[in-house]
């Protein structure tokens, strides 16, 4: 272990005898129901509708970051991941397609977002 230089040194707040836990902060995060009894295409409509702007912003930042390195990254993602979406297992395929429809974000981009873990484990 190498200690980080100040002011980034590891620091356990228990040393300060302070408590940062405030259970009321949990209510800053909204709760949603996802009903598995509904068809997959119906399950995420409320969430996708409520957050479509923020999801677009997130994917927009990703595209901005990738584009200077791979100028055709958006078209590539739309094509490759859009085609991949059609082969994904159910119910995830229909869920992802409906999120794409509700948010207006191209299917390839929503698919890429949903398989980000696999892309980033390199």
């Amino acid at each position: 272990h190498v200690e980080l230089p100040a002011p980034y040194t590891d620091h356990c707040i228990l040393d300060d005898k302070t408590n940062l836990y405030d259970p009321s902060k949990q209510f800053d995060i909204q709760w949603f129901d996802i009903n598995l009894d509904l068809p997959p295409s119906e399950r995420w409509k409320q969430v996708a509708g409520a957050y479509k702007v923020q999801i677009k912003e997130l994917i927009g930042v990703l595209i901005e970051l990738i584009s200077p390195i791979f100028p055709n990254a958006v078209d590539w993602a739309d094509d490759v991941f859009g085609e991949m979406a059609l082969k994904l297992p159910q119910p995830y395929r229909d869920e992802i397609m409906s999120i794409s429809q509700v948010t207006g974000i191209p299917l390839g981009q929503i698919t890429m977002y949903n398989i980000f873990y696999e892309i980033f484990t390199v």
Binding site: Y8, D10, I13, K25, Q26, F32, A50, N114, V122
Partner: protein, 254 residues
């Protein structure tokens, strides 16, 4: 990321994690934050998964993401997934899947979700997560409801590379997992195990609970510029709390 399963002196388990994401994905020089981490904090939601009109399990998600990184099935098990980096990683699994060589391989966060949908006990979940072929490596941190029900499943694509049990934990009463194998040393520039262990040792077992573990996960460098939230879970009581996190000011970038 940092996941912790802590057991108090009476055998009650608290399962928690920091989700860190966004490394090298754009730096905001004004806010002094990673751009992606900033955006992710705005789309965190909690989800009640309903089946046959009843609550089946709980999770938190990034809106628009249908898989699961963290969840809790009341009275059964809790799960967090930490990223595991390997040369034979997600790209390799995806390519094999695309060419039909790994048609049954599961996508990580969908395997996690499937486990919540299909399995009803800690042991069943453990077996499923250990042995199902998947497309990427990962650390599954699994907690239960009974004393000593906790483990870290170090997954490769086709099996479990290492299983670390809470009952055999080097620290006796907790498991702490970042993004390195338990039997290997962390990269010295990214060692979050040492500060996490030191802080847990200061916490002591008698203070193992939501408050204590949250304070550990709010300490540098388990808390860093990539941290988006802390989730706290108790399978026994079904408490599930997601609390937004950030590390403004002088904080390490990862």
């Amino acid at each position: 990321c940092t996941s912790i399963i802590a057991q108090d002196k009476d055998g009650h388990l608290t399962h928690a994690r920091n989700l860190d994401f966004g490394l090298f994905l754009g730096w905001d020089p004004v806010a002094h934050e990673w751009q992606i981490s900033q955006k992710l904090r705005k789309i965190i939601i909690n989800v009640n998964w309903i089946k046959n009109g009843k609550l089946l399990f709980k999770s938190n998600n990034f809106a628009g993401y249908v898989g699961i990184y963290n969840g809790l099935k009341p009275g059964a098990f809790s799960l967090t997934a930490n990223e595991r980096y390997q040369l034979e990683g997600g790209y390799y699994g995806m390519l094999k899947w695309a060419f039909g060589l790994e048609a049954d391989g599961k996508w990580m966060s969908w395997l996690a979700r499937e486990t919540f949908e299909l399995k009803n006990s800690y042991l069943d979940a453990k077996e499923h997560l250990m042995n199902t072929p998947m497309l990427s490596p990962v650390y599954f941190i699994l907690g239960g409801v009974n004393k000593n029900e906790g483990c870290i499943i170090t997954r490769s694509l086709n099996g479990t590379a290492l299983l670390t049990e809470l009952a055999d934990a080097k620290n006796g009463w907790y498991l702490l997992q970042t993004n390195y194998d338990q039997d290997q040393q962390d990269l010295y520039l990214d060692d979050r195990d040492t500060p996490g262990d030191r802080c847990m040792d200061k916490l002591t077992q008698k203070n193992a609970g939501f408050q204590g573990v949250f304070n550990v996960l709010s300490s540098r460098t388990n808390l860093n510029k990539l941290t988006t939230y802390t989730v706290l879970m108790s399978v026994e009581t079904a408490r599930f709390e997601t609390i937004l996190q950030s590390c403004p000011g002088e904080c390490y970038p990862w």
